[in-house]
């Protein structure tokens, strides 16, 4: 079983799905000859010269034409080079792709997976670092998926491409090459809508996704040194959310820390907090804490200060444990 980075695992998933299903089309800026600026599509043009397209530089055009392909029955996988560049295609995503099934009474649908790198940690300044999943999670009709390991990136991307609805597949750049993991060749799927318990624990539940899941694991290791057993939940799919896994964990631990790198106000973790407050308040032994980015644009020089790290998560754990 080959050890792969997340980039290689994504490439492997795309290649295998393109081999399996000739309706799968890859398009986007620099995805062909250059193999994508992060190399996620490397070599696909050589193997599938008629199904991989370098497009003009227009996100609205990439998403809009991919929607057309999906309406016709293909399975396009457009890439947006950075999530920070997605907004020229925002209207096509939220007003068109997400609403097509509803507005046509089920006559038309858009089975399309938009891949885009997101989040901080690569010294990209705010136009190559933002984490704006909340805009999309607020849109009924879209699914939003965030992997945090190479193997699961393959499994989740495969499931996304096969999904009958539009999926926004957010790839945490910080994790693209940060580690390797054995990834099986051939069929690997991870069902959408299921969270994973990354580390069991009885004292406090840490809830995160993407790179922050890794940060929470680091925090849990440090907390264990102080005798606090933290359970780490990696959401993996933000929409639809796996509520039962979160609720059963928090009902067990009685404490919750929600961690996301996006700006604090209106972030997706706020929704998690609200769900816990509504459905698990009688189990809570302390306030639901959030550890997040700041309500500022994403900074360049002080990136490491902006991004939540294990120590900030630990402070929140201390606070909720001491309540």
């Amino acid at each position: 079983m080959p050890a792969m980075t997340m980039v290689q695992a994504i490439n492997n998933a795309l290649r295998e799905e393109m081999r399996r299903d000739d309706r799968v089309i890859v398009l986007g800026e620099d995805v062909g000859r250059n193999g994508g600026v992060f190399r996620c599509t490397e070599g696909l043009l050589d193997e599938f010269p008629d199904r991989v397209f370098d497009t003009p530089l227009a996100e609205g055009g990439i998403i809009g034409t991919a929607i057309g392909m999906a309406l016709y029955g293909l399975r396009p996988v457009p890439e947006i080079q950075f999530m920070d560049f997605i907004y020229p295609g925002f209207d096509q995503i939220v007003s068109e792709a997400a609403k097509m099934r509803y507005r046509s009474g089920g006559q038309f649908s858009v089975p399309m997976t938009i891949r885009t790198p997101f989040g901080g940690g690569i010294r990209g300044g705010h136009y190559h670092s933002q984490s704006t999943e909340a805009y999309f999670c607020h849109t009924p009709g879209l699914k939003v998926v965030v992997p945090s390991t190479p193997k699961e990136a393959k499994g989740l991307l495969t499931s996304s491409i096969r999904d009958p609805d539009p999926v926004l597949f957010l790839e945490p750049k910080k994790l693209y090459r940060s580690s390797r993991e054995d990834v099986p060749e051939g069929e690997v799927t991870v069902p959408l809508g299921q969270a994973a318990v990354r580390r069991p624990g009885k004292d406090v539940t840490l809830i995160a996704y993407g790179y922050m899941a890794q940060v929470c694991l680091d925090a849990a290791t440090k907390a264990a040194e102080k005798g606090v057993e933290a359970e780490v939940i990696d959401l993996r799919t933000l929409v639809p959310l796996d509520e039962p896994t979160i609720l059963s964990s928090v009902k067990k631990t009685g404490r919750a820390v929600v961690v996301y790198e996006a700006p604090r106000t209106g972030g997706y973790g706020a929704e998690i907090s609200a769900i816990l407050a509504e459905k698990a308040i009688e189990y809570l032994r302390g306030p639901i804490m959030r550890v997040t980015g700041f309500d500022t644009p994403f900074p360049y020089t002080l990136e490491d200060i902006y991004l939540p790290n294990a120590d900030r998560v630990l402070s929140a754990i201390d606070k909720v444990m001491a309540f």
Partner: protein, 357 residues
Amino acid sequence: MVDALRVIRDDGSTDPRLDPKFSEDEAIAMYRGMSLQRILDNRMLALQRQGRIGFYGPSLGQEAAIVGAAMAMGPDDWIVPQYREPGAALVRGMPLKELLCQLMGNAEDPVKGHQMPCHYVYRKGNYLSISSPVGTQLPHAVGIGWAMKLRGEKKAVLVFFGDGATSTGDFHAAMNFAGVFRTPTVFLCNNNQWAISVPVAKQTASATLAEKANAYGFDGIRVDGMDALAVYRATRDAARKAREGLGPMMVEAVTYRIGPHSSSDDPSRYRDEAEVAAWQARDPLLRFRRYLEHAGWWDDAREARLEQEIGDEITRAVQEAERIPPPAVETIFADVYAEMPPHLQQERDAFLALPRR
């Protein structure tokens, strides 16, 4: 008034180089399609004023540019509408009653009351669902054509849009992608001179809209949009070229929105009645009728019969549609996703469990 391709002359004769040489049946079918659109519009505007439908967007003046173009496409081709083309949906076989149910948003509305009136869809006729934002359908038509090309199918896509849409980013992206990938897309611009209250002269500094196509590497042609045969001929030729792999084309149908933008609009606030009257004198239905009469296929008696027949059909469809109740409340939650996710099931069940007041 218009420097553009024309087929039907003022006396009803045709330009022999461009005449599509319709049979009597074909010609009458086109006239029927336009008449149906006209009579439907007038009836629906009246129904809206009586509060029997919530909203309506008429196509008055644009019948030739809509029906003429739609009839130029083959049954396997796709039509991607803007929002002023119910005439095209009817050409594709959408039953009148189904269209009425959409306007009323009732239990048999194909979109289950999810959208405002006039947001038709007709999958069986390859007629795409409608969006209110302007121009967003243009890249879809390019993607659909691109998919046809990738599948090696000799088909084409007709996409409708207006003069206002040519200002959008989606227009630019769609035209550019269509040119680069040579998709079989026919861009049919209904230049009706007005985007609600903004005249085309304030929309663009281009002398024509058709010339924009040149910058994207393909041809644009300007046709008299009040002349159904001219629209038909240009669209048919563009679609044939597209199916043969010769790439996209833009057709600018120069026409006029004789009515309001919608039932919520009062055009007297922004335009001169004299301008409307001048265009009304070029009514596309009168023009086509002169052509039919010149060919010896039409007279007052046939006209009266047709009006009666269409009027009765609409009356029947209205009566049938008005008997249908509103959609069941749980249809609010239908068709968000292929499979209803747990959070939506929870919302639905919690709502349905509430005491009904």
